[in-house]
Symmetry: C2
């Protein structure tokens, strides 16, 4: 049953319903879109990577608790069917929240009845532990298929990671313009996976801190600065090919067309930052707060002049400024596709907001991209005084599914 | 400086910018509104009570840490000025995030630059501890002004309250159609209050679980059921007068035109609920899942027939069904204005989503409204197997401010 049939609208086309239904809070300088609409689930690459960043995130990492390969593969098949349905704005299962027999649990949880697809994307990734667990066991007979690029990240200086909210065997990134739709999707996958997987950790996020399309204005992080000005954009086809997608020959065939995902939960020490002067904030970032222009330029997209010196002979952009240390020129041209979200998890019991950035980055090879960039930042970034990395994870996200008879993980497990 | 002036739009009227800027994800059966627009801050009653429920919540409870009445009053004056500015879509302070002198911290944190007012409302309330603290001290010389209706709630059967996320001396409810706008507002109030107040706890919420206007469809909670069908609505003028607003003579004059606020964080045991049959779920609630109709009726707004018996002679709506126990007829006609939000706080470390309902209810007198209703529910409600009340608080929300020379708490402190 379609999610909407319950409300008696079975005759109307999904697109028509969505168009009538929904748009989202957007900046007034952002082009009109239809955030209620459904996005395609099938394609050469997974959705949710170069898809223009939606407003809300529910990210989940699962531990696999079954020891049986067949159970795991069956669940991935069931997940794929449910994901295809939910991203189209339908119920997770064919009987919906009120169908089937009254004596059985519903096969959808119901809280999204009447809500449009809301641009939902679901993106899956496999963690290193799926290939060989912490005890070295090859639980599912796939240890020899682990890409070399999919290794646990090194420990970076200053890391304050909580293992309970780090790692995971499988992740799903749900993005949508309505948080109830994103939460509904993750919850139904968890329900379908009962006995096979268990939620290890999950994270809600809001507001885009990275724009992934040239049509989107650069949003602001909770430091109040524009974040992601130099991000890879969906329109840069040759750069995506070079920096984002895994090529044939990069590693095992099953990852060709996929991408590696690194997540970092970066707590911001909001109250200390808010007591810092504007001049100091701008020196730390290397950009102005209002326009986001580099301190050597006048407009946001001006290229930072890292060689420029001021009247005092010192660099205009400080040697420990964030924009300098993260700049591709410092890392052999390495770039990332960032897709992070702001988060607020309440307060921390010490009178401070528990808030920051849930950093998400996709890339062709973390050994040449995230790891060297983060190594440089962790050593020297002036921002480090105001942030703590509290969770970390890495996943291999396989390519997209070309057609409806395929399923998440088929290329890995067959 | 206006929040938007930074982007060079000082010449455009706020309403025009907002209208160009924003609408929100809404159900397709919901009338079009303009969620980017600013709502009035001044009025006989505080905004954020009968205001049609916005999509997002950031609720905060503060401990007052100063011992000085003058510091507290000064902060309330500064808060009021900032609240009036922010609800109009402006910066928290007159110099904004990039104004003033570069050597000083900005007087706005900047993350809402470029975002419209987004229907932001800020609603303040005073807790019992402001009048007399846990040690019995009258810190601010107002102990004799505490309304009798503002007393700590009794312990209800089954309560599993965490003191760290309960109570508080002052609360602020921020509601908006954009979470970044709601979070920005609370953060700036906390910043302004530094040294006077400290964040005790805060809660994010999304999706409306109660409609407060006849023009809004009834939303669904995370059990998948419509929630708040029988809620007080903004259009019911005489019922609001009877059940919502404090009358002259009800207690101290400073609360006339105000309302009492009860919050309860209600964790839902999602995974257990999702394994329950549809028939059982509907029997527990007393309504159908699809339409929200009472089990004795055909449509959502049909009045439940609590006397109806089935062919087996048993009541159609069970004696422990939620709709029966919460029905006004069981409590001398008592009704509440509910304004709750769904929440997901990640997972709980045991593989379960940490999710549920952040219940918010406004009323004229909790002794005749929330307390008897919750007493009946806590004793017998069949839903109790699937929920845990983990936080609780009560606040006295004073009347609205009639004009710009007034401030939050003036009637209490003068």
């Amino acid at each position: 049953m379609k999610r909407r049939n319950i409300l008696g609208l079975a005759g109307a086309g999904a697109a028509g319903i969505a168009a009538a239904g929904a748009v989202t809070v957007r900046r007034r300088d952002e082009p009109a879109t239809d955030p209620g609409a459904a996005l395609p689930f099938y394609g050469a690459h997974q959705a949710g990577i170069v898809t223009p960043a939606q407003d809300r995130l529910h990210f989940v990492a699962f531990d696999v608790i079954t020891r049986t390969r067949e159970d795991l593969v069956s669940m991935l098949e069931a997940w794929t069917a449910a994901a295809a349905r939910m991203t189209a704005g339908r119920d997770a299962g064919t009987h919906g929240a009120v169908g089937g027999v009254p004596e059985a649990p519903p096969d959808d949880t119901g809280e999204a009845i009447g809500l449009p697809a809301s641009g939902l994307t679901l993106t899956i990734g496999f963690g290193p532990g799926l290939f060989r667990d912490a005890d070295g066991r090859d639980r599912f007979g796939i240890a020899d298929r682990r890409p070399d690029a999919l290794a646990e990240l090194p420990r970076f200086p200053g890391d304050a990671l909580d293992p309970a909210i780090s790692g995971g065997d499988i992740c799903v990134q749900a993005c949508a313009h309505d948080p109830q739709v994103a939460v509904h999707a993750i919850r139904n996958l968890a329900r379908i996976g009962m006995g096979v997987v268990s939620v290890r950790w999950s994270q809600l996020g809001f507001g885009r801190t990275s724009s992934t399309s040239a049509g989107q204005p650069t949003p602001r992080n909770l430091f109040g600065f524009k974040d992601g000005t130099a991000n890879l954009k969906a329109e840069e086809a040759s750069a995506l090919d070079e920096h984002l997608w895994v090529h044939a020959g990069d590693g095992p065939d099953w990852m060709t067309g996929g991408s590696y995902l690194v997540t970092r939960k970066i707590r911001m020490i909001i109250e200390t930052w808010d007591r810092t002067s504007l001049r100091e904030q701008e020196a730390i970032v290397g950009r102005t707060k209002g326009d986001g222009a580099p301190l050597t330029g006048a407009a946001e997209f001006d290229e930072p002049d890292l060689a420029a010196a001021g009247p005092d002979g010192l660099p205009v952009i400080a040697t420990d400024a964030h924009v300098r240390l993260a700049h591709p020129s410092a890392h052999g041209g390495a770039r990332l596709l960032r897709r992070g979200y702001n988060y607020v998890d309440g307060s921390d019991g010490l009178g401070r907001l528990d808030a920051g950035l849930f950093f998400i980055a996709y890339q062709r090879d973390p050994r040449r991209q995230f790891i060297p960039v983060q190594t440089a930042l962790a050593r020297r970034d002036a921002l480090n005084e105001y942030i703590r990395h509290v969770s970390s994870a890495i996943f291999a996200c396989p390519p997209g599914l070309p057609a409806a008879d395929d399923f998440w993980g088929r290329s890995l497990f067959s």
